[in-house]
């Protein structure tokens, strides 16, 4: 029984990465109607940014947490301005393909310069060590990841669903012409949204840098799972993707305990089941 508690908690920790990543993906899909396949590559860039900040500029983890999302967010906005904006009104497939191409380029370039085995990044001084919860040893850093990402997820949800800015955003996706008539610069808002979604990916990258290796391919396999999370949650639904992200983490944790071989596959079982019962995901609107 104790072991089970531990697995649940560990699952929740992993879930927070899924939640952060799928949140960004959902924001981008909801507002830009683009399936951002470059999300994994941008997540990787976030982790690399943290590494550069430490090794070149001497700025530690806390600075990275702030600066990496901004830097990668700006990179994302440039991408949106130069490439993605030409896709407005086209089928999803083109957005997916374009971002997939971008992901290949970014990963390829990083791999050329940093190899494939990855770079070390230490856990920050203040978050080292761990505490004994009775049923397991919880590293402080893991606890921090859960709390921090939960706060970020809720803040993002609040920003989009409960503020005036968010209301404009949502309106702009429903009816851009009308919103433009109110004197709001819609293209700029879309660019900023893409920057926000990408920044969230980079943030997840910084968070994972001390746990995982900083590797050029670290996001390549993750993207398909995160994508599945967004679909299960209902494409474009913010809350749906947050909840599904955490829930998947827990379910995966249980699978790792009872049938570990299937732990990478369980998300797809879940996806089939959900889509059979609810054709547009748990909270999704019609495709």
């Amino acid at each position: 029984m104790q072991a089970l508690y531990a697995q649940l908690l560990v699952g929740l920790i992993n879930g927070s990465f899924y939640a952060l990543l799928s949140l960004g993906l959902a924001v981008i899909f909801g507002m830009l109607n683009i399936i951002n396949f470059a999300h994994g590559a941008l997540y990787m860039m976030g982790a690399f940014c943290a590494y550069f900040l430490l090794n070149i500029a001497g700025l530690g983890y806390w600075w990275a947490l702030l600066l990496a999302p901004i830097a990668v967010g700006i990179f994302g906005m440039i991408l949106e301005r130069t490439l993605l904006q030409w896709l407005t009104g086209l089928d999803h497939l083109y957005g997916l393909l374009l971002t997939f191409g971008i992901a290949l380029i970014v990963q390829g370039v990083f791999q050329n310069y940093f190899g494939s085995s990855g770079l070390p990044y230490a856990i920050p001084e203040q978050l080292r060590g761990g505490m004994n919860l009775g049923f397991m040893f919880l590293p402080v850093y893991r606890g921090w990841v859960v709390i921090f990402s939960l706060v970020i997820c809720l803040a993002t949800w609040f920003l989009i669903e409960r503020t005036r800015l968010g209301a404009y955003l949502r309106a702009a996706t429903e009816n851009p012409t009308l919103v433009r008539a109110f004197g709001i610069n819609v293209p700029r808002m879309i660019t900023l949204t893409y920057g926000l979604g990408v920044g969230l990916a980079a943030l997840a990258g910084v968070l994972s840098a001390p746990i995982n290796q900083v590797r050029p391919l670290m996001g390549a396999d993750l993207i398909i799972v995160v994508f599945a999370v967004v679909v299960i949650g209902g494409m474009g639904s913010i809350m749906g993707s947050i909840i599904t992200g955490f829930a998947l983490g827990v379910i995966e944790g249980l699978t790792k305990y009872f049938y570990p071989e299937a732990s990478n596959t369980v998300v797809f079982v879940l996806m089939v089941l959900v889509l059979l019962v609810k054709p547009t995901g748990l909270t999704g609107r019609a495709a």
């Binding site: 999803h92 083109y94 393909l97 997939f100 191409g101 679909v231 494409m235 299937a262 089939v272 054709p279």
Partner: protein, 322 residues
Amino acid sequence: MTSITDTTLPITPRAMRDEMIVFVIMAALLAIVPWTGLYPFFVMQALCFALLACAFNLLIGYGGLLSFGHAMFLGTAGYCSAHALKVWGLSPELGIIVGVLGACALSIITGYISIRRQGIYFSMITLALSQLLYFIYLQTPFTHGEDGIQGIPQGHLFGFLDLSKPTVLYYVVLVGFLAGFLLIYRTINSPFGEVLKSIRENEQRAISLGYKTDQYKLLAFILSGTLAGFAGALKVFVAQNASLTDVHWSMSGEIVLMTLVGGLGTVFGPVVGAFVIIAMQQYLAGFGQWVTVIQGGIFVACVLTFRRGVVGEIAHLFKRSL
């Protein structure tokens, strides 16, 4: 929102005549390959993928259904054929039949599950199903995990065609490809194909006209999956192995890319696309680590500048249907 397949022009007698001319040229060109000096293994591989992409194109280009799991048919047929040939020791023709039947059975089951979902959700459920299958193949002992089934005997087709001779194998694959291609072409231009296209354009209207659209879509899915399986069975003879990479989602992605690069919803596009992508894998290898960057660049360029694909752009230029 623009449909992804708005490049197709209405089928007219003139268009059909054009297409037949191009088909004859294509068949003639492919027939003389062993004497032109083009490396036949490369062409054979490309032909298998071309057939696969054509089968995929039947579903998306004419049925409007984007399957993101078509690798499962390729891989399933590959494993079935490989097992039948190597372990059961069946003759090549029976091996192909076992593979095709395997893919057909799979497409009936997966089609039944997925066909009622729309748009992106259809793509996702096919992706999920193919991932489940990947897992099953990873766990089942007969596939030998990541080592795959190796050293598959090629044997004699119909007892007298020695498939270990490259030229013989080449013509067998070519005939298989042309047969599959013609079957798809025939389907597209049949009344069944017309109904399919009308469903793609406007499913509600097709329903109101009294068509049971789900049945049409399911039939198209099964046909597409079975033909993809045929491509997988042929590929076993060319590559002489069957491995997990054929079932992996990145293979499904590659199929989409081939079709898109060549031209979605065009008759010859997938063939051109398959040749382009396979050639890229073969001949860019010398660029070492820059290959992925170059590939990515090509995809970006493709989406931004020639969205109709190679064949689609040419057809558009000449205002012809190809």
